[in-house]
């Protein structure tokens, strides 16, 4: 047994392949046999992975969900930003450059709308919860954009570490909410074409949430959502600590 433990510990990424493979196989079978395919297996697997991520956080008291359990540490490599971005780029082979160019303006409009909307509502909710200073409100609003924009903005304008932690928490909740809600809302909002996916990616913005949500809805739409979502965090980091902060501090005197 000791030998096996050493092997599992040394080959984290391979264990992660095995783990995800078993999870996918189990949810596929469950989706076909128990649900008649009404919920796609991949959507179930992503949802179950979130639940397991919660359990992992409870058991190991770390910050990386299930990847905090030492035998499953490879999950953070497999699910890390390097492999995620590499695989998203590979999905572009199924995309049409002409369609992306045709919807370029729609994507730009969506990006602007999306950052403004999330920032505005984040600030409003911060205000309702009792925050009154421009620095804290701006950081919370930025956190409502993505969990990267939040701390980048907070760091730039000198927010307290408590507020920065709160903005990261807000951003992670957003990612999870987008992941879970996208396959549920897809039909209602008409998320069924490349142009629709591009404006959805621009408005929602969180690359992880958009990527996971579209994967659970229709994998063919992933590259279109990703191509706009990839600009969201950068644009958010640009306007939140500058333009939006100036507007907020002027409004608050």
């Amino acid at each position: 047994m000791k030998e096996l433990e050493v092997i599992l510990d040394k080959n984290g990424l391979i264990v992660a392949f095995l783990f995800v493979g078993i999870l996918t196989w189990a949810t596929d079978v469950f989706s076909k046999k128990a649900l008649n395919g009404r919920i796609p297996g991949s959507a179930l697997a992503i949802g179950l992975a979130l639940v397991l991520g919660y359990l992992g956080g409870v058991l190991a008291e770390g910050e990386q969900g299930l990847a905090d359990l030492s035998y499953l540490k490879g999950l953070s490599t497999l699910g890390g930003s390097m492999f995620r971005d590499f695989a998203i780029v590979a999905t572009a082979t199924g995309a049409s450059f002409v369609l992306i160019r045709k919807s370029g303006l729609l994507g730009l409009v969506s990006l602007t709308l999306g950052i403004g909307l999330f920032f505005g509502f984040g600030v409003a909710i911060g205000w309702i919860m009792g925050y009154r200073d421009a620095v804290s409100l701006c950081t919370i609003g930025a956190g409502a954009c993505t969990y990267i924009v939040g701390p980048v903005t907070g760091g730039a304008i000198g927010a307290s570490s408590e507020v920065i932690a709160l903005s990261i928490g807000t951003g992670v909740v957003k990612t999870i909410a987008v992941t879970i809600l996208t396959p549920i809302m897809a039909k209602w909002i008409g998320l069924n074409s490349p142009a629709a996916a591009m404006s959805y990616g621009g408005i929602m913005g969180t690359s992880s949430g958009v990527a996971a949500g579209l994967a659970a809805t229709d994998p063919a739409l992933v590259p279109y959502g990703a191509v706009t979502a990839t600009f969201y965090t950068g644009l958010g980091c640009l306007v939140c600590p500058s333009l939006f902060y100036l507007i907020l501090s002027t409004l608050l005197g």
Binding site: A16, T24, I46, A49, L50, V51, G53, Y54, G56, G57, V58, E63, Q64, G65, A67, L78, G79, F83, R84, D85, F86, I88, A90, A92, T93, A95, F97, I100, L117, F118, I125, G126, M129, I140, G143, A144, V152, L166, G169, G171, V172, V173, K174, I176, A177, L181, G190, A195, I203, M204, S208, A211, A215, P219, P223, V227, T230, F231, G234, C237
Partner: protein, 119 residues
Amino acid sequence: MIKGLALLATCFLLGMWCGAILGTWLGIDANVGGVGFAMVFLLLSKEYLTSKGWWNGEFGFGLEFWNKLYIPIVIAMAASLNVKSALSSGVLALLAGTFPVLLAFGVVKILLKQVNPEK
């Protein structure tokens, strides 16, 4: 297989480089659209190679593998998110994280209606 993988890696690194340069140029510590640039490079080089008649299954397989690995990666990513701290970071984080998302779905719906009025 490895040719496709090398092409993907080239496009990925070039795209990330462009995103980083754009970030520095804008004066922010973030990658602006690196994935998007990489996707455009990949699409353009695929078109170029196809027009020259050099594109073949060798390239396709290396790309297809990573394309297919995408969903497993997303599953691993979901399992390694800090779900516990997100849920325990208070009412404000829960409200500010979910409420705007619900509204955003409404905005996507309205925007798409404007673009495709026939639907």
